[in-house]
Amino acid sequence: MSSKVSSSNNISQARRTVQQLRIEASIERIKVSKASADLMHYCGEHAKYDPLLMGIPASENPFKDKKPCTIL
């Protein structure tokens, strides 16, 4: 009895795996050269808007320690 259950479990699991692999195998793929060119293009386009890449001037740093203000 238990061997019947486990063998039908194995079967349904194997069937699920095959179905999933069929789906994955059938997707459309592009060449790595094209994919990496697109990633590089995206980086190039957005680099000038990236504050962590370009850096921000110390005067505009919103996190710098605030100095106390003396009022004369």
Partner: protein, 355 residues
């Protein structure tokens, strides 16, 4: 009788054979399109658990909610900024509306949304305050309606605990990626619950996954001490960020705004910054006194925040030099929030749990 589950022409061994053939075919198809080494040749980037919301600029606490469960492992900000979601060893994800009214008790307004059969490892609102996506130690991810608590979709496929997830940038559609202890990263369709793609090149648990800003790729951080970049359209791993000197697991990963830099936190207390395109390390940040458990870049890209087992959150910005890449300066954040910081979202919200 013995073969009740089988259809005509199927036997267990024929299914296994087909499975192996398909796996080989998948590898062959991927290899056919591997016409260049990516980038190189083409060169010219609590005892009670508490959830606390901090103001990153003033380092003041804005809200604190005490969770009834002792271990909080995940938290997220709602897109409107009006609520937070968190959960952990209580196997649930609860949503708390944020209020600035000191007289209101936030914990009293809590709404239990998600229910798993094991710990909650990660949660994220989708593009509205109305739906939450969760991942769990029970090996599944799930999509929930916040108002009714109803399960909208569940995602089965991981063979072990799911540790992390990330939603695709809204322009690119309804998918998300998850990473687990089965060393796999899986990409899912939110509506159908179907796994669309899966990647199994890491040698150990995947602790963190994050989409590239364009949505065409994602990065992963793993206990195998490497971070990797997977391109979704090429359907394969295209870069690996590792060094022989780095032997401790990577816990967290995030991209800068343009996707040129990858920030990664490690269990050896450091943060490494990688040039995504060249695959080289650009910078290493010291300062934390214990493992870096979490890391996030702010939505406007001006800074990133790292959380650590040393009980601190630190914010770093890039400083201008004559040429890129920028140098990073750590600003010590709030001192000594009581405990282990597990996850941080955009405006620095973190969850405390007893060590």
């Amino acid at each position: 009788m013995a073969n009740e589950g089988l259809r005509d022409n199927e036997t267990l061994s024929s299914l296994k054979n087909e499975s192996e053939t398909l796996k080989c075919k998948l590898e062959e198809e991927r290899a056919k399109l591997h016409d260049v080494e990516p980038f190189l040749s083409v060169f010219f980037f609590q005892q009670d658990g508490k959830v606390i919301v901090w103001d990153a600029f003033t380092t003041n606490k804005e809200h604190a909610v005490t969770m009834p469960c002792t271990w909080v492992m995940a938290c997220a900000y709602a897109p409107s900024g009006c609520a937070i979601a968190c959960g952990g060893l209580d196997n649930k994800c609860s949503v708390y509306p944020l209020t600035f009214d000191k007289n209101e008790n936030m914990a009293a307004k809590k709404k239990s949304v998600a229910m798993h059969t094991n710990y909650l490892s990660a949660c994220s609102f989708t593009n509205s305050d109305m739906q939450i996506l969760t991942s769990s130690g029970d090996g599944t991810c799930a999509l929930w309606d916040v108002e009714s608590g109803q399960l909208l979709q569940s995602f089965h496929g991981h063979a072990a605990d799911v540790l992390c997830l990330d939603l695709a940038p809204s322009e690119t559609g309804n998918t998300f990626v998850s990473g687990g202890c089965d060393k796999k990263a899986m990409v899912w369709d939110l509506r159908s619950g179907q796994c669309i793609q899966s990647f199994e090149t890491h040698d150990s648990d995947i602790n963190s996954v994050r989409y590239y800003p364009s949505g065409d790729a994602f990065a992963s951080a793993s206990d195998d001490a490497t971070c990797r970049l997977y391109d979704l359209r090429a359907d394969r791993e295209v870069a690996i960020y590792s060094k022989e000197s780095i032997i401790f697991g990577a816990s967290s990963v995030d991209f800068s705004l343009s996707g040129r830099l990858l920030f990664t936190g490690y269990n050896d207390y450091t943060i490494n910054v990688w040039d995504v395109l060249k695959g080289t390390r650009v910078s290493i940040l010291f300062g934390h006194e214990n493992r870096v458990s979490t890391l996030r870049v702010s939505p406007d890209g001006t800074a990133f925040c790292s959380g650590s087992w040393d009980h601190t959150l630190r914010v770093a910005v890039g400083h201008q030099r004559t040429r890129p890449p920028a140098k990073f300066i750590f600003h010590s954040g709030p001192e000594r929030p009581p405990q282990f910081i597990k996850s941080s979202a955009t405006a620095i919200i973190h969850a405390d749990s007893p060590c």
